[in-house]
Amino acid sequence: MIYHLTVILLCQLAGEFLTQSLDLIVPGPVVGMIILLLLFFFVPKVAEAIQPTALGLLSHLSLLFVPAGVGIVGHLDRMGSDGVPILIALAVSTALAITVAALVFVGVCRLVGDPK
């Protein structure tokens, strides 16, 4: 488990290094994810070993958003008098984005004849 976590942290560190040195817009951890994926490709054994630790980390992904969530409570007043319009815009837009993305995905699947 400690070895697995070390590999994950090394990937993140390499990702941060690349983002900083190449001035990328993509955050370090996302680059780290791509690096780990490449590592899995070239050394499939690593994938097998790390899988349980990685899935363990992800099984409570929700928990990791709690500190940032508490942080925004103090800033809710930043919406000011625009609070209600903003909440309406966020809710409708999120529903539309989910609907459009899901319908296009399924529609294109049918067009290109994906067997499911």
Binding site: I8, C11, Q12, G15, I25, V26, P27, P29, V30, G32, M33, I34, I35, L37, F41, I50, L55, L58, H60, L61, S62, L63, L64, F65, V66, P67, A68, G69, V70, G71, I72, V73, H75, R78, M79, G80, D82, P85, I86, I88, A89, L90, A91, V92, S93, T94, L96, A97, I98, T99, A101, A102, L103, V104, F105, V106, V108, C109, D114, K116
Partner: protein, 238 residues
């Protein structure tokens, strides 16, 4: 013997107190979520955040003091993002097969997310910095803050809007997708990831591993695409 108020004064400034409180609040939220039969509107993040916000308000503890303890949890967001490579690798066959639908859904979903939030807010009278802060609301927080700054929004306000969008997406996705009759886990997960980033992805993992993997890809791809098209859309229309 030290009196209780003195012990409290000491402990309430300690990281241990707030790390424990964060885990405890989440455990309460998660157990309510499980007891409800995993109902989507019983969101463990929302419950934990509400409990902690009330607790901090009642005990008059500042957010920086709280974060001294909570930062250990917050830090794990980075490694967890890297760990998304695991379900992605496990679902690689499905990902390869779905490359074309994914690209189409990404472009359609991402554009809809930006245009609709700006259009609706504008129609309701929102203008200026607040309006621009809305554009990257569907993108994972670290990237969204950068986009917001680049197009003239307020990064702090964008952070608030991003989290709200995540929670909204996590709460509405299941009933909405059921209503649309979409049964494909790939499509369901991908749509949630594009529209509501990490918090949506966390919800997708609670439901199905394939959905979670596709949500993770949707989140990562939308971060990149929005960074490119949000400035263009803002330049064209606003």
């Amino acid at each position: 013997m030290t009196s209780f108020p003195e012990i409290w004064t000491f402990l309430s400034q300690e990281p241990l107190m707030w790390l424990t409180a964060t885990l405890l609040a989440y455990a309460i939220g998660d157990s309510i979520f499980l007891k409800s039969g995993k109902r989507p509107y019983v969101n463990p993040v929302l419950i934990a955040v509400t409990l902690l916000a009330v607790l901090l308000w009642v005990t008059d503890v500042s957010y920086p003091t709280y974060f001294e303890g909570a930062k250990f949890v917050h830090f794990m967001l980075g490694p967890a993002t890297v760990a998304l490579a695991a379900p992605l690798y496990a679902n690689l066959g499905k990902v390869r097969q779905a490359a074309v639908p994914m690209i189409a859904a990404l472009i359609a979903g991402s554009t809809t997310a930006i245009l609709s939030v700006l259009g609706i807010a504008y129609a309701l009278g929102v203008r200026g910095e607040v309006l621009l802060s809305l554009a990257p609301k569907s993108v994972t927080a670290p990237v969204a803050l950068g986009i917001s700054e680049a197009i003239g929004g307020s990064p702090t306000l964008t952070a608030v809007l991003v989290i709200l969008t995540g929670v909204m997406g996590a709460v509405m996705a299941t009933p909405l997708l059921n209503l649309l009759g979409i049964k494909d886990w790939k499509a369901r997960g991908f749509a949630i990831g594009v529209a509501s980033h990490g918090i949506g992805t966390a919800r997708a993992f609670q439901v199905n591993e394939t959905a979670g993997a596709f949500a993770g890809i949707g989140m990562a791809l939308n971060a990149i695409l929005t960074a490119i098209i949000a400035p263009i859309i803002v330049l064209l229309f606003f």
